[in-house]
Subunit: 457 residues, 2 copies
């Protein structure tokens, strides 16, 4: 066997793509499959993402289904949809046969409703077919939607030697064995063993004597987010899934949780940036517009609101006080920034489960914090306005209202996500344009009202 180690240092160069395209164009099937065989399936997926749909289809039809099934699950969603559209039900079923039940189910779930049953009926392995049907029934964002049926299971009455013998068969079907799950005669989960425990144990020992009964598990109806939290909090690499009767149904592995965490982080980040749905830089202009324009429209409404407020104060501020209008972008920016900062800290704290204590104590803390920040910034602004405009009254009016605006903005930024969270709504929607826009309006309104009081108009 080859003794060379391949370091993973894949780079998608234009030369590489050129080479692949040329092999496709000249239909050099053997050379092409030999060439691609030297890459990891995740790398081949990257190549397919970058060539034409026809080229990608050509490669999918050329390579063995044990490779193409892995490639398929790594592809960009849009491309996978296109490719599946161009494959027959039987071809898809063949890919599905090669995949673990969780990945197989994910791919089938992406098909149009009417094709799903057609494809499933073409799967030859009856056990695999039944398992996929079972998994399809669970909502995507629950433990059931994440789990795979592949696992290594032993009965508590077995011996270590018998167990090692019997799990050889099961283990061959499971890509990675994290834990061996121990069940009783009624198929109820009673404990777990690591392969390490099995290897370290003596052959004649009974499973019931060596297994660890203190096993973590989740219910099949638990939410994916909660499963991710449990697995990362307790540093678990796999967790068994049971139903209400404690019957062992499947297992979830950490690589799926890595994906859940990434998606969650991406979603929160996009919400904070004012993007309403999952888009990528490579999506079409129309997809991107659909994701971006709702928040922009909200911003526009906010801006019109600011215009109307300013119009309302038009007659009040004349002469020197007229300069107040020139500070509205400053006020709006400060209110927006403070609001985003305080809401982001709360949203992140809620996500990591470390926001403790009552809403009131949280609000008092934010008020003190905002007051401190506001005082520092207002002092600076006071000095600038006084030096530049030479008017003590104007400088005082602007800087005092800035403190008030910052405090209110901080309170809104703190309160809204806490309130949404209490109501069971994802607090992440409270960040970004939502907070910025409402704080713009409140900020400008408060600013003019306080300035009017101070200037005695």
């Amino acid at each position: 066997m080859a003794k060379d180690i391949e370091h993973i240092q894949f780079e998608l160069t234009p030369q590489l793509l050129e080479q692949v395209n040329q092999l496709i164009d000249t239909k050099q099937d053997i050379a092409l499959s030999t060439f691609l065989d030297s890459f990891h399936y995740a790398d081949i997926a990257e190549i397919l993402d970058e060539i034409s749909l026809d080229g990608a289809l050509y490669i999918i039809k050329l390579l063995d289904s044990d490779t193409t099934s892995d490639i398929l699950k790594e592809l960009d969603d849009d491309l996978r949809e296109q490719i599946l559209k161009n494959l027959s039900d039987t071809e898809i079923a063949k890919e599905i046969e090669e995949l673990d039940t969780d990945d197989a189910t994910d791919i089938i779930a992406e098909l149009p409703q009417d094709r799903q049953e057609e494809v499933i009926s073409k799967i030859e392995d009856e056990a695999h077919k039944a398992e996929i049907k079972e998994l399809l029934a669970y909502p995507e964002d629950t433990a059931g939607g994440l789990m795979a049926k592949e696992l290594v299971k032993v009965y508590d009455t077995w011996t270590v030697a018998g167990c090692l013998q019997r799990i050889k068969g099961q283990a061959e079907e499971v890509t990675r064995v994290h834990s061996v799950y121990v069940v009783n005669k009624q198929e109820k989960l009673v404990g777990r063993l690591s392969l390490k425990d099995l290897i370290v144990a003596k052959n004649e020992q009974k499973i019931s004597d060596i297994y660890i009964s203190n096993v973590d598990y989740v219910n099949v109806t638990d939410e994916a987010d909660d499963v991710a939290k449990i697995m990362s909090k307790y540093d678990l690499e796999a967790i068994p899934v049971v139903n209400d009767n404690q019957t062992l149904l499947g297992r979830i592995t950490i690589d799926d949780i890595v994906d859940v965490l990434k998606e969650e982080a991406d979603k929160d980040y996009q919400l904070a940036a004012g993007i309403t749905q999952d888009v990528e830089a490579d999506d079409s202009i129309f997809q991107l517009t659909r994701a971006r324009i709702p928040w922009l429209f909200l911003g526009l409404i906010g801006g019109i609101g600011a215009f109307l407020i300013m119009g309302g104060f038009e007659d009040a501020f004349t002469g020197e006080a007229f300069k107040l209008f020139f500070f509205t972008p400053l006020i709006a920016a400060m209110a927006g920034n403070v609001g985003v900062q305080s809401s982001a800290i709360i949203v992140q704290g809620l996500a990591n489960d470390d926001v403790k204590g009552s809403i009131n104590s949280r609000l008092i803390k934010e008020m003190l914090l905002a007051a401190l920040n506001g005082l520092i910034l207002s002092l600076f602004l006071f000095l600038f306005v006084f030096a530049y405009e030479g008017s003590l009254n104007l400088a005082l009016a602007i800087s005092v209202s800035l403190v008030a605006v910052i405090i209110v903005a901080g309170l809104i930024g703190t309160f809204v996500p806490l309130f949404l969270d209490k109501r069971g709504i994802d607090p992440a929607i409270a960040t970004g344009p939502f907070i910025t826009t409402s704080n713009d309006i409140f900020g400008i309104l408060i600013y003019f009202m306080i300035a009017k009081l101070i200037l005695g108009i």
Copy 2:
């Protein structure tokens, strides 16, 4: 042995904290340690985070070091720092002995420089001591800073039976065995085996006949981010670390990568929200101020810039055109929002390695996208201004300049992160207040200039 399964459904209730505090106050040591033994160490860490420092210290000194060492690594950084300050060098060394080398090194690295050597000198296990010293030498954000020395290693000349025999000893020291690494006589990594492969293999087979030579690995100097990308792209649960001579030095496990990914996501999120350093909702007001005020100050400077620009146009826009000033918050908000949206998509795309193609094609796409969004929003604004103010000229001036402002804002939001990334600077700093502030100023400037042209002033 107990056959009950404990479902992880820990909840930190005020009653629970009260109970713990009471057991501490009344010094009921046996009851307290029995009570705490029923919890996972990650849960005990949560309890300690919520009680007084004295209480936490009391518990740390009460429980066995095999539990307290695990608790220590899960504690909030600030609390851990406080607790370590109150433990003697020998006490810390005892905790360190219980931890895997990677966690041990992380904790020692947090100690003040002068205490580090004192503590290390108190570690009794010479091998552990030497390994920790080795790990301390690697920068924190590299593969060397993430790896642990604990791994299961076999030589390619061994047989399966001999191998199983010998790894029993090694495996006992390693919390989780993901892979067995195969080295040659020169200690160079030549391949890997899963425990599953070993169990499935026949006893008399040679390791050299069954090992998989195609093993992924990283260099000890590789950056932590890159290791995280490789492990999540290729769905690896552990990866061996080698030096330039291919000598096997250690291994990195997926749970450390989950932490790296989380920290990365948190950092990007905070940067987008205008928070300059890693803070939590529970940090002190001064820590929070230090993290928040730099970006607020930037926003203040931007606001002053906007004020100066408006002052410059004061004499130009009189009469009806005076209304233009009332739309500056709208213009600033739109410029800021568009900039944040486009920069966030680029930053996220760069992080996920799916921004391909040239900067130019990216800018052209963003220009078309911004033009489309801008036209839709401007049409709405035009209708509003025309209906409300009844002036075609004013409506035209405002809406045409809005399109221009949105296009420029989109281009800045796209260009800046791409430019920073090319220069090797983290593009995430380009999101949030940085883009908002610069877009506010550019936006208002462009707005007045174009409006002036259209109104023919």
